[in-house]
C-alpha cells in the first residue's frame, strides 16, 4: 500500500538528526555546520534566504563550509544571489542547480559561472514568480532564514526587514520542510511574533548580526541638473496629466529627484493631494521631505532601509508597523500591491531598444530582475478602475467597442540618453540578447517588454508610446527622445516633428518647462544632512552617506 505520509516521516527524521546538535531548538553558531550536515540530503531544494537587503549570512557561511562528500548537488531556490558564499557553494559542488531572481553585486560572477557550466540554471525569475513557484514545483526541503531575535520556542522577530521570510516559511514548513533560522540574539520574549514558533525547527544564535545593505539611499548631493529636468518633466507631463496617486518608484536618482521635487516644484504646480499619495515603496530617505510636508498618505514596504527605523516608528500613520512599533515589511505582498493596486511604475533602466524593450543586463553581467518586471507590467487580471488607469486605457485603445475598453498601467522609463561613462542608453539590439545566446538561455533576460512600456522620459522630452499607432510611430518616438546617441541621430526629422504635433513627443518647452530652471535649488533636500533635518533628527544615516 502506498505511503501517503512519506515526506512527513522524512522531515521528522531530519529534525531528529538535527536535534543532536541542539538544545531544544537552539543551536550555537559553532555547531551550525554540523546541524546543516545533519538535516540536509544530497539533491535537496534549499532556500538560503538571500533577500534584496537582509542576508542569512551566518547560515550561508555554514553551508559553504559543509563537507561536499555529505552535502552535495543541492538545488538552490532563493531570490537573491548577493554574498560570495551564495556562489562559493557551486564551486565546491555543494550546490548544482539554481533558480533565482536578483544578483546585483554578484552579477559578473554569475555570468562567468553560467558560462563555465558550474551553475545549472533553471531560470532568472521575478520575485513574485519565484515565490509562486515555491508553492508549485520549487518547494524547498530546507529553508535557511534570518531574523533579529527568537525565543527558545522558535517564535521569530524578523525586525523591520521582514522581506521574504513569511513566504519562504509558508512554503517550506507547510509542505514537510525544515526551517532553520539564524538570529542575532535569543531572548526570553520577542518584541513581536513575525513567524510563529511551531513553524521554526532550529534557531542558530549567529556570531554577528545579519548583514543588511542600504540599497535605497540616494544622496541628494549627487543629484544632477539633468536628473532634475527629467523629474520636472515627469511630474508635469505624467503625474499631473494622469493624476497618478497610487504608484511605485524605482531606486534610481531620477525617481529620487521626483521625491525631492514634490514639496517644491510639485507644490508650485498646486498638485499636493492630487498626485503621489499612496506608494508601494521601500522607505526611501529621499521621501522624508514629501512625507513631512503632508504629500504622502501611505507607504507599504517590500523591506526596510538602514537608518530609517526610528523615523518609521514615529510615523506610523504613514507606514505599516507592528504592536512593537517597528516596520512590518513583506516583499510578496508589496509586490502584489505594486502589480495590482498601483496605477504607475516609474524607474530607470540601462538599455532601451528601438521597440522599447529594456534590460539591465550587459554582456558580462547577469543582474537579474528583482521586482521591476512585476511592477512594470500591465496586470491583465486587474478589474478596478481609476482615473489614471482609464485615461491610459483610452489613449491606447484604437479598435473595438468602447464599452469593453479596459485601463492600462502606466509603465514609465526614466533615463538619461547617455548613462554612466557616457554609454548610450538607446541601442539597436539589447546586450541581453547576446548574453542569452552566449550562455544558452532560452529566454532573453528582458527587464520590461516593449508592449508594457507606456512612456519614455529623457532630458530631450517625453515619448508617449500609448498614442503610437504603428511600428514607425513607435520607432521615431523613441529616436525622437534619444538625444545625441546614434539612435537619436538616426531620426527622421520630419516624422519626429509630426509626432510632436500629435502630442506623442513633448519637449520641455511644450510642457512649459524652462530647462534653465532645472536647478539644484529646487530640491527640498540637497544633502543627507538636510534629510536628517527634515526628519527632526529621526533619520540616522549610515556612515558611508555622511559628510559630517
Amino acid at each position: 500500500m502506498a505511503d501517503w505520509r512519506g515526506e512527513r516521516k522524512a522531515r521528522d527524521a531530519r529534525i531528529e538528526a538535527g536535534r543532536a546538535h541542539a538544545q531544544g531548538k537552539v543551536v550555537p553558531a559553532d555547531a551550525a555546520v554540523a546541524l546543516l550536515e545533519a538535516v540536509l540530503k544530497p539533491g535537496d531544494r534549499v532556500c538560503l534566504e538571500g533577500d534584496n537587503q537582509k542576508q542569512a549570512d551566518c547560515l550561508a557561511r555554514a553551508l559553504s563550509q559543509c563537507d561536499p562528500a555529505k552535502v552535495n548537488g543541492l538545488h538552490m531556490v532563493q531570490s537573491g544571489i548577493v554574498l560570495p558564499e551564495h556562489l562559493d557553494v557551486f564551486e565546491t559542488g555543494i550546490a548544482e542547480r539554481l533558480d533565482y531572481s536578483y544578483s546585483g553585486p554578484q552579477g559578473a560572477r554569475v555570468a562567468k559561472m553560467l558560462y563555465g557550466g558550474q551553475i545549472k540554471l533553471g531560470a532568472v525569475h521575478t520575485y513574485l514568480e519565484l515565490f509562486a513557484r515555491y508553492f508549485i514545483d520549487l518547494t524547498p526541503h530546507v529553508a535557511l532564514i534570518a531574523g533579529v531575535s527568537a525565543d527558545r520556542e522558535g517564535n521569530l522577530y524578523t525586525g523591520p526587514n521582514t522581506e521574504d521570510t513569511p513566504t519562504i516559511v509558508e512554503a517550506t514548513h507547510f509542505k514537510n520542510g525544515v526551517v532553520v533560522a539564524q538570529v542575532n540574539e535569543i531572548v526570553d520574549k520577542v518584541p513581536r511574533v513575525d513567524i510563529p514558533g511551531d513553524r521554526v525547527d532550529f534557531v542558530v544564535e549567529a556570531d554577528t548580526p545579519f548583514f543588511v545593505e542600504p540599497l535605497f539611499t540616494r544622496d541628494p548631493a549627487a543629484m544632477t541638473e539633468t536628473q532634475i529636468l527629467i523629474a520636472m518633466m515627469a511630474i508635469k507631463g505624467i503625474y499631473a496629466e494622469y493624476g497618478v496617486r497610487r504608484l511605485n518608484h524605482g531606486i534610481g536618482f531620477g525617481t529620487a529627484a521626483i521625491e525631492l521635487l514634490l514639496p517644491t516644484y510639485g507644490e508650485k504646480l498646486g498638485l499636493k493631494g492630487e498626485i503621489a499619495t499612496h506608494f508601494a515603496l521601500n522607505p526611501h530617505p529621499t521621501l522624508i521631505p514629501a512625507i513631512e510636508s503632508g504629500w504622502v498618505k501611505q507607504v507599504h514596504c517590500f523591506g526596510s532601509e538602514v537608518g530609517m527605523d526610528r523615523y518609521i516608528r514615529e510615523r506610523s500613520d504613514v507606514f505599516f508597523t507592528g504592536a512593537d512599533g517597528s516596520l512590518r515589511s513583506n516583499r510578496a505582498l508589496c509586490q502584489t500591491a505594486g502589480l495590482y493596486a498601483c496605477d504607475m511604475f516609474i524607474g530607470a533602466t540601462l538599455q532601451i531598444d528601438l521597440m522599447g524593450h529594456s534590460s539591465t543586463v550587459t554582456q558580462s553581467r547577469v543582474a537579474g530582475f528583482g521586482g521591476a518586471p512585476n511592477m512594470g507590467s500591465d496586470p491583465h487580471g486587474r478589474r478596478h478602475p481609476s482615473d489614471a488607469w482609464m485615461k491610459a486605457g483610452r489613449e491606447a485603445q484604437v479598435v473595438g467597442d468602447p464599452a469593453l475598453m479596459r485601463g492600462r498601467k502606466l509603465v514609465v522609463q526614466l533615463v538619461e540618453t547617455f548613462g554612466d561613462g557616457l554609454v548610450p542608453t538607446f541601442v539597436e539590439r539589447l546586450d541581453a540578447m547576446e548574453l542569452a545566446k552566449k550562455i544558452g538561455l532560452e529566454l532573453a533576460p528582458v527587464m520590461i517588454y516593449a508592449d508594457d512600456v507606456t512612456h519614455i522620459v529623457t532630458e530631450e522630452g517625453i515619448a508617449n508610446l500609448l498614442l503610437c499607432r504603428d511600428a514607425d510611430d513607435r520607432e521615431q518616438a523613441i529616436r525622437g527622445v534619444a538625444g545625441y546617441t546614434e539612435i537619436g541621430r538616426g531620426r527622421d526629422r520630419a516624422k519626429v516633428e509630426e509626432l510632436r504635433a500629435r502630442g506623442i513627443i513633448r519637449r520641455p518647452e511644450d510642457l512649459g518647462i524652462e530647462p534653465l530652471d532645472a536647478d539644484r535649488s529646487l530640491l527640498a533636500a540637497r544633502s543627507i544632512k538636510d534629510l536628517v533635518h527634515w526628519s527632526g533628527g529621526l533619520y540616522e544615516p549610515p556612515a558611508k552617506f555622511r559628510n559630517w
Binding site: 548631493a221 536647478d519 539644484r520 535649488s521 540637497r526 544633502s527 556612515a543 558611508k544 552617506f545 555622511r546 559628510n547 559630517w548
Partner: protein, 304 residues
C-alpha cells in the same frame, strides 16, 4: 539659481561665479582675463578633453564692505577645480598684482582636488609659484584669506597653499588635506583608511576637525553670507608676517605633532583637546560647535 541671495545661497552648492557675485558688494566685481578672452588650457585638447573658457578659475578685484580686495575663485565642477598651467598662471598673476596694488586683502575661494594630471608639471609649478606669491603678498602687508567650503574641498597642492594663507575660514562640508581619501586607501589599504566611510573622511579632514585643531581660524555656516562675515572678521585680525610669527607657527606645529601624533582617530584628538563628548561633535549644529571651540586652547592660536 534665481539671483544671488547671499543669506540663503549655499556656498557648497554655488558655482565659483555665484560665490563671488554674492560675496562681494553688489556690482563691484571686475574680472581679469575673463572667459571672453578664451585663455584655455593648451594641454587638455591633446587628451581629447573639453576646455573651459576660464580654465576653471575666476580672478579679479572688487569691494568687500567698501574695501578693495583681490579675489580668485576655483570652479570645482570643472575638472574638480584642479590646477593647470593657465589656471595657475591667472592665480599667480593676481597675487603678484596684489603685491604692487596693495589691496586690503586677497581672498582665495578654494575648491580643488589638487593638480591636473594631464598637465602635472605646469600644475606643480603653479602650486610652488602660488605659495611664493602668497608669502610675497603677506610680506608686503596684504593679508591672504582662504575660504573653504566647496564640493571638491581643498586637496593636494590646494592643501599646501592653504597652509601658507594668513587665515582660513571653513564650513562643515569643507575639507582640507593633501592626499585625498581614495589616494590614501589605494596606497595604504582600506584597513588604514576606508575612503567610503564618509563619516571617517569628514572627521579626519572636514571643517570641524580643522577648526578644532587650529588648522582653520573660523567656522561658518554653509551660506555665502556666513563666509562674507568670516572674511571681514579674518581680514581684521590677520597676523603679521615676520620671523617671530614664523617661529611661533613652527613651535605650534611641533607641539601639535608631539601631542597628537599617536592618535588613531580624530575623536581621540578631540578628547585630548578637552572636548567632553567627542562622539557628539559631528552632529553638533554651528552654535553648539562654536561653544565647544571656545573651550579649546588650540583653536585660539595666533600664529600662522
Amino acid at each position: 539659481m534665481a539671483g544671488p541671495d547671499r543669506d540663503c545661497l549655499s556656498w557648497f552648492e554655488a558655482s565659483a561665479r555665484q560665490r563671488l557675485d554674492a560675496l562681494l558688494d553688489a556690482g563691484t566685481f571686475r574680472e581679469a582675463i575673463g572667459p571672453a578672452e578664451r585663455r584655455m588650457s593648451p594641454h587638455l585638447p591633446l587628451f581629447d578633453l573639453p576646455c573651459a573658457f576660464d580654465d576653471g578659475i575666476v580672478v579679479g578685484s572688487g569691494a568687500l564692505d567698501g574695501r578693495t580686495v583681490f579675489v580668485a575663485a576655483q570652479e570645482g565642477r570643472f575638472m574638480g577645480g584642479a590646477f593647470g598651467e593657465v589656471h595657475g598662471g591667472k592665480l599667480v598673476g593676481m597675487l603678484r598684482a596684489a603685491v604692487e596694488a596693495k589691496p586690503e586683502a586677497v581672498l582665495l575661494l578654494f575648491d580643488t582636488g589638487g593638480v591636473r594630471l594631464q598637465e602635472a608639471n605646469a600644475g606643480e609649478t603653479a602650486i610652488a609659484e602660488t605659495m611664493r606669491a602668497i608669502t610675497e603678498a603677506r610680506a608686503a602687508g596684504v593679508p591672504v584669506i582662504g575660504l573653504i567650503g566647496g564640493r571638491a574641498g581643498c586637496y593636494g597642492g590646494g592643501g599646501l597653499i592653504a597652509g601658507t594663507c594668513s587665515r582660513l575660514a571653513v564650513s562643515e562640508g569643507g575639507r582640507i588635506s593633501v592626499s585625498g581619501p581614495e589616494v590614501i586607501e589605494t596606497n595604504k589599504g582600506a584597513e588604514e583608511f576606508d575612503s567610503r566611510d564618509r563619516a571617517l573622511v569628514w572627521r579626519t579632514m572636514g571643517g570641524k576637525h580643522r577648526r578644532l585643531i587650529g588648522g582653520a581660524d573660523a567656522f561658518c555656516d554653509d551660506t555665502v553670507a556666513a563666509f562674507r562675515a568670516a572674511a571681514l572678521d579674518l581680514i581684521g585680525r590677520a597676523p603679521a608676517f615676520d620671523l617671530a610669527m614664523l617661529e611661533a607657527e613652527q613651535a605650534r606645529l611641533r607641539a601639535r605633532i608631539d601631542r597628537f601624533g599617536d592618535c588613531r582617530d580624530a575623536t581621540e584628538i578631540w578628547a585630548r583637546l578637552g572636548v567632553n563628548d567627542p562622539e557628539a561633535v559631528p552632529a553638533m549644529d554651528t552654535r553648539a560647535f562654536e561653544e565647544t571651540v571656545a573651550r579649546v586652547e588650540e583653536a585660539r592660536h595666533d600664529a600662522r
